[in-house]
C-alpha cells in the first residue's frame, strides 16, 4: 500500500481534502523564486534577478508548442509584448514541457512570429518553483522581485475580439500607474505542464 501511495504521488498531483498538496504557488506579494534558464535558441542563461534589475515589470509566461489553448494566445502574447515594450516591461516565455525539446520550441516561435525570448526549463524545475500547472499561465514580478499577478491572460481563449476581462493587461496597467491590481489571481482552463 505504501508503494502504491508513493507511486500515485510521484506520477500525479493528488490533493486530499485533508490538505496534502504538491503544487504550492507563492502568494501575491511574496518574493518570486530566483532562477536562471537558457534560451531555447541557445546562448547565455537568463536570470530573473537580471531581468527585474533592468525592467519595471517582468512577465513570466509558461507556454507550450503543442497545446491548442496556449497556441490560441500566441498573437495576444506577442501583441502584449510589443504594447508594453515602451513601458519597460519584459516578457519571457518559459517552456517546461518535458515532451517539447528546445529545437521544437525554436521552430514553433519562428513559425508563429513570437519575438520575445523563450527559455527552456529542462526538468520542469522552474515550473515546480512557481507551482505552475498549466499553459498558458502567467506570473508578473515587479522591480523589487515581488510577485504581483498570477493567472490568465484573459477569460476568452476562443475569441480575442470577445474578451471582456483582459486580466493581464489590467494588472500591468494598474502596476504601471501605481494602483492596486484589480484581480491579482485569476484562473482559466489550460493544458497540464508535462513534467518528467
Amino acid at each position: 500500500m505504501k508503494m502504491s501511495l508513493f507511486r500515485v504521488l510521484s506520477l500525479s498531483t493528488i490533493l486530499l481534502s485533508g490538505g496534502l498538496a504538491s503544487a504550492v504557488v507563492s502568494p501575491i506579494g511574496a518574493r518570486a523564486p530566483e532562477f536562471s534558464l537558457p534560451p531555447a535558441s541557445g546562448g547565455q542563461p537568463v536570470a530573473l534577478s537580471q531581468e527585474i534589475s533592468k525592467h519595471r515589470l517582468t512577465v513570466l509566461m509558461f507556454i507550450a508548442t503543442r497545446c491548442p489553448f496556449s497556441n490560441a494566445y500566441n498573437s495576444r502574447m506577442e501583441r502584449l509584448s510589443a504594447d508594453y515594450r515602451a513601458q519597460n516591461v519584459a516578457f519571457l516565455g518559459i517552456n517546461s514541457n518535458e515532451s517539447e525539446p528546445a529545437a521544437d520550441v525554436v521552430k514553433h516561435a519562428q513559425s508563429h512570429g513570437l519575438t520575445f525570448p523563450i527559455l527552456k526549463d529542462v526538468g520542469s524545475k522552474v515550473a515546480d518553483l512557481y507551482g505552475a500547472q498549466r499553459t498558458p499561465e502567467i506570473f508578473v514580478v515587479d522591480a523589487s522581485g515581488a510577485l504581483q499577478y498570477h493567472g490568465r491572460i484573459d477569460e476568452n481563449a476562443q475569441d480575442p475580439a470577445g474578451v471582456r476581462s483582459p486580466d493581464l493587461r489590467n494588472a500591468l496597467d494598474a502596476l504601471i500607474a501605481g494602483r492596486p491590481v484589480p484581480a491579482a489571481e485569476t484562473k482559466a482552463f489550460g493544458c497540464s505542464i508535462k513534467r518528467p
Binding site: S4, L5, R7, V8, L11, S12, T13, I14, L15, L16, S17, A21, A23, V25, R66, C67, P68, F69, Q133, R134, E137, R152, E155, Q158, R164, S165, T186, K187, A188, F189, G190, C191, S192, I193, K194, R195
Partner: protein, 163 residues
C-alpha cells in the same frame, strides 16, 4: 428473412448505440445539483477534459477500463468537457470512437473561473483533472494531469474505503 433484417441491423449497430454518451451543458451554479447530487450513495469521479487536450485523450482508455471494473463496486463516472460549444461534434465523435460509456456534460460559463471555482477553489484549471467524491458527496481526492488505470483504481479503492 426480410422481416428479420431490421432487427439484424439493429443488433449490428447496438454496441455503438449503447456507447454513445449524451452531452448536455452545465453551468457553474448547476454543477453540484446536476452532477454531484444525483450520485449520492455511490462514489463519484468527475473527469474534466477536452478534445484539444492530448493527455486527456490519452488517459481516457484508462478511465474507461477503471470505470468498467469498479462500476459494480459502486463507482460512477461523469465527464465534463471544457471544449468550446462549437466543438460539440468533435466531442461526440471522440466519445463514440472510444465507446466511452459515461455521461458527458459540456461546461458552459461566460468566465471559466466561475466554473473552476465551483468545482474546487484550489484547482487552477489545468486539464485533465479528476475529482473523486465520497458516497456522501464530499470532495475527497483530486487528480491532476494524466493518470494511469492503476492511479484511477487506487483513488477509487480509497474513496470506497472512506466512511
Amino acid at each position: 428473412v426480410i422481416k428479420l433484417l431490421p432487427r439484424a441491423w439493429a443488433i449490428l449497430f447496438l454496441p455503438a448505440a449503447i456507447s454513445t454518451a449524451t452531452i448536455t451543458t452545465v453551468t457553474p451554479t448547476q454543477y453540484r445539483a446536476r452532477i454531484v447530487a444525483p450520485h449520492r450513495g455511490r462514489v463519484l469521479a468527475v473527469n474534466f477534459w477536452a478534445t484539444w487536450c492530448v493527455p486527456c485523450r490519452e488517459e481516457m482508455p484508462a478511465l474507461v477500463a477503471a470505470g468498467r471494473r469498479f462500476s459494480g463496486e459502486g463507482v460512477d463516472i461523469v465527464l465534463v468537457s471544457a471544449d468550446f460549444s462549437s466543438a460539440l461534434p468533435a466531442v461526440d465523435r471522440f466519445l463514440r470512437g472510444f465507446r466511452v460509456p459515461f455521461p458527458c456534460f459540456l461546461e458552459e460559463s461566460e468566465d471559466p473561473q466561475t466554473f473552476i471555482d465551483a468545482v474546487d477553489p484550489r484547482w487552477g484549471g489545468e486539464l485533465p483533472h479528476t475529482v473523486v467524491y465520497s458516497r456522501a458527496g464530499a470532495r475527497l481526492i483530486s487528480l491532476s494531469s494524466r493518470q494511469t488505470r492503476e492511479d484511477f483504481e487506487f483513488a477509487f479503492r480509497k474513496a470506497l474505503k472512506d466512511e
